[in-house]
């Protein structure tokens, strides 16, 4: 039975975090610099941590957003080093994307409905014109006794 992704990643991530933390500890207390990779605005650089520190693929970066256990591990070190954790905004972005995807699908459904409705309206109008034509033909029958010849001849 294959192991879950967490069972694989948690030991690896824990090991790398310990190494980073040890390196951070080893610095003089005053003037310690974070050893966790950071973005320009002081947040954990999740991609750099995942790919460069842990040796994961770029696609595996997502697990740090989706698996709270992993995020919690990283964040515990990040807080100690004064780095902004993998926070709400990043997680919200993921949710927003999912919501966007869903909204996109709903919009697409709405467009389908609108098209169906438009076709229905167009059909109603076509039928209205057909009814008007047949009504005129009945009127012609009443007035002249003649049936309008519209079919093919044999």
């Amino acid at each position: 039975m294959p192991r879950s992704i967490l069972e694989t990643l948690v030991p690896l991530v824990g090991e790398r975090l310990e190494a980073l933390d040890a390196a951070w500890e080893a610095q003089p207390e005053e003037g310690r610099r974070p050893t966790l990779p950071m973005t320009d605005d002081g947040k954990v650089n999740v991609r750099a941590f995942a790919v460069e520190v842990c040796g994961l693929t770029q696609a595996q970066e997502q697990h740090f957003y989706k698996k709270p256990e992993l995020a919690a591990l990283v964040n515990s070190v990040a807080v100690r080093q004064g780095v902004k954790p993998i926070g709400a905004r990043a997680l919200t972005d993921v949710i927003d994307k999912a919501a966007k995807d869903r909204l996109g699908r709903a919009q697409s459904d709405r467009d389908d409905l609108a098209r169906a409705l438009a076709e229905r309206e167009a059909l109603i109008e076509r039928q209205r014109r057909t009814i008007a034509s047949l009504t005129e033909q009945i009127r012609l029958l009443g007035e002249t006794g003649m049936v309008l010849r519209t079919g093919d001849l044999a």
Partner: protein, 681 residues
């Protein structure tokens, strides 16, 4: 079409798209608006441009805009198609589009002979041959479309004579004439075979029926047969009560009339017939009283306004014109449909409206007076509103001229003795007038000796005159009788043309009156002029307006600026638009081309009307026959002055009756009521 025009067109044609929404369309699509409007798949995009805040409404409007544009495009294509082939007329093109739909031009290209019901054969054939040549048909004269078209044209000609069928022996001659061939030519046989193969004629044991008329005839027979079969017969106890006189008093009825009442009550479909003065109205009133005494209701109608008024007065019940009755029944049906989905408040208003309109249920006895004049088409329309268990009584005089329009129903129904109650004894022997006596003589093909004309004296008199002298004599007699102002005088003549025809007499009387009084005047389309006070007649069945071919009235106003004639007909006021024939009048208006002067009218046109005094010019004409003379004489309530040639009278009386000459496919044989019901009668 420039963008602004397209926008304006859409705004004017689609309810809900005003200038603002039309502007949005222009902004969204610019010059490509016409092509966008031609494409149904663009409806969502059009809707988005029209109104983003109301997407559902916008979709509806967008679909309507596309539809309106397609109609316009179809109309434009049809106008262009016709115009390129020398057929002009915007009104005609529009009517064609309404009948054939948006693809009218395509259909016309496929078979130009489909125009036969709408245009004279000579025009259709010229157009048809040209189109077939364009198509590269090697021998257009023998093309199947032309051959079948010629049979359709034979049917059209027959219908215009009042027929609904043609005999096999008459057919080849007519076909040959239309195709420009001889009867013996092979093309004639080919055309007849093609016509039969394609349903242009329906073979019924040697009589060839015209298909549209045959449909109506079959439906009328089937409906009457169902009514005759399904309507509940009167319980014997009720009949006994009637016979004992405990329900109504039969004391005022002649035994013949009382027997007629029972026969009518015993038959869900029945006819009451007889000549002038036999008491048809008196008997009808007794039938109504008796039916109402059994718990039923009555609904009375007659073809003309005057006849309806007369029936109302005589019966003490509201009698409508058939036009009004049909209009009310159509409206009732429409409102009942609307009621299905109406909100409570609206439903209340609809019910109030419905209560004021005519309605027919299983206990209604419908009485159609002057039924001999009711044409097939009108009866067909009426019966579509009649429930299977209602009853219907036709009252009339089969000696009168047949209906103006095609078909013959009453004259055929009265041949069934099982449902026909005949009155023969003349009661209204108004000896002062003697009109019933003269009418009875004409029924027997006799012309009794008449006194010389002696001014305004009730009765029938005669002034001998050669044809050329008739107009002067008619003018003098009309002046003696007080003129036309009171609406009590009409000249009933045989033809439209000729010295004593409708046209010359109308022009004479109109000019004389207009010039003497310096009245305002408007020119009509047929060389006639109209002034206030002129008697007038409607020339076409117009179910929308509720006017029949033969409805008579009076001009009350002419508007020389707006080119409108206002006329009062059957107690209602109508506006008739003159001028450009291409200018289609609004729905509530008539066209002046359908209105004519009615100082003088043909006997066929006035058969539903009566006047106190009638002048009847008689001269040699193919239309003069016993039914013509009979109808002309019985148009008068008090006085008839016959002006003309004695020899023409004698010739007319020798001719066959008009109804016998009319060839129809209406067949009531075998539809008689069950023996038990007849026995009760």
């Amino acid at each position: 079409m420039p963008g602004t025009l397209v926008r304006d067109y859409v705004a004017s044609r689609v309810q809900g798209i005003g200038p603002e929404r039309a502007r949005r369309l222009g902004e969204a699509f610019g010059d490509s608006l016409p092509s966008v409007l031609s494409d149904e798949s663009k409806v969502p995009a059009i809707a988005a441009a029209l109104d983003r805040d109301r997407p559902l409404l916008a979709l509806r409007l967008a679909a309507m805009a596309v539809s309106a544009w397609k109609e316009a495009a179809g109309e434009a294509a049809t106008i262009s198609w016709l115009s390129e082939r020398g057929v002009d007329g915007l009104a005609f093109a529009r009517r064609l589009c309404r009948i054939l739909g948006d693809d009218a031009a395509t259909r016309l290209s496929a078979n130009p002979y489909c125009l036969v019901p709408l245009l004279p054969w000579s025009k259709v054939d010229r157009l048809g041959l040209a189109v077939l040549r364009e198509e590269g048909v090697p021998d257009p004269r023998r093309d199947l479309r032309r051959l079948v078209g010629s049979i359709d044209a034979v049917a059209k000609a027959g219908i215009s004579r009042g027929d609904t069928a043609i005999s096999l022996s008459d057919l080849p001659g007519e076909v040959a004439r239309l195709l420009g061939a001889r009867e013996a030519d092979a093309i004639v046989g080919e055309a007849i075979a093609a016509g039969l193969r394609n349903g242009a004629l329906v073979d019924a044991d040697g009589t060839l029926r015209f298909p549209g008329c045959a449909t109506m005839e079959e439906d009328v027979v089937a409906k009457l047969a169902v009514i005759q079969r399904l309507a509940e017969p009167l319980p014997r106890s009720v009949l006994k009560d009637l016979q004992k006189g405990s329900l109504i008093d039969f004391a005022g009825l002649h035994p013949e009339q009382a027997a007629a009442v029972f026969k009518v009550l015993a038959n869900p479909v029945s006819c009451l017939l007889g000549g002038a003065g036999v008491g048809k109205t008196h008997t009808t009133r007794a039938v109504c009283r008796a039916w109402e005494a059994t718990g039923g209701s009555t609904l009375l109608a007659a073809l003309s306004g005057k006849a309806a008024l007369r029936l109302s007065r005589a019966s003490g019940r509201l009698a409508r014109t058939l036009a009004r009755l049909l209009g009310e029944l159509d409206e009732t049906r429409r409102l009942e449909d609307e009621l299905q989905d109406a909100e409570p408040e609206r439903a209340g208003r609809i019910r109030t409206k419905l209560a004021a309109l005519a309605s027919i249920d299983d206990r209604t006895l419908i009485v159609i007076d002057e039924a001999s004049m009711v044409d097939l088409s009108t009866l067909y329309r009426l019966l579509r509103h009649v429930p299977d268990r209602a009853r219907i009584l036709f009252v009339g005089d089969p000696a009168q001229l047949p209906p103006i329009s095609f078909g013959l129903v009453y004259h055929r129904l009265v041949m069934d003795d099982a449902i026909a109650a005949r009155l023969r004894v003349v009661h209204r022997q108004t000896e002062a007038s003697g009109i019933p006596a003269v009418a009875a003589a004409v029924r027997d093909r006799r012309w009794p000796p008449l006194p010389e004309y002696a001014g305004a004296v009730d009765g029938v008199s005669f002034v001998e005159s050669p044809l050329d002298g008739i107009p002067d004599v008619v003018a003098k007699v009309a002046a003696d009788l007080g003129g036309f102002d009171a609406g009590e005088l009409v000249v009933v003549t045989a033809t439209n043309d000729g010295p004593a025809g409708v046209g010359p007499l109308n022009r004479m009387f109109q000019r004389s009156r207009q010039q003497a009084r310096r009245l305002p005047v408007i020119k009509g389309h047929l060389g006639e002029w109209f002034s206030p006070g002129d008697p007038c007649i409607h020339l076409r069945n117009d179910y929308k307006l509720g006017l029949f071919n033969g409805s008579m009235g009076k001009v009350v106003e002419v508007d020389e600026v707006e080119r409108v004639v206002v006329a009062e007909i059957d107690g209602r006021t109508f506006r008739f638009l003159s001028g450009d024939l291409e200018r289609r009048p609004p729905a509530e208006m008539g066209a002046l081309i359908d209105l004519a002067l009615a100082y003088a009218v043909t006997c066929h046109k006035c058969q539903g009307s009566q006047a106190a005094r009638v002048i009847v010019p008689v001269y040699r004409s193919m239309v003069l026959d016993p039914s013509w003379l009979y109808t002309a004489v019985t148009r008068a309530e008090r006085q008839v002055v016959v002006v003309g040639e004695r020899s023409a009278l004698a010739t007319a009386l020798e001719r066959p009756w008009a109804s016998d000459r009319r060839r129809v496919g209406f067949d009531w044989v075998g539809m008689s009521p069950p023996a038990s019901q007849v026995a009760v009668a």
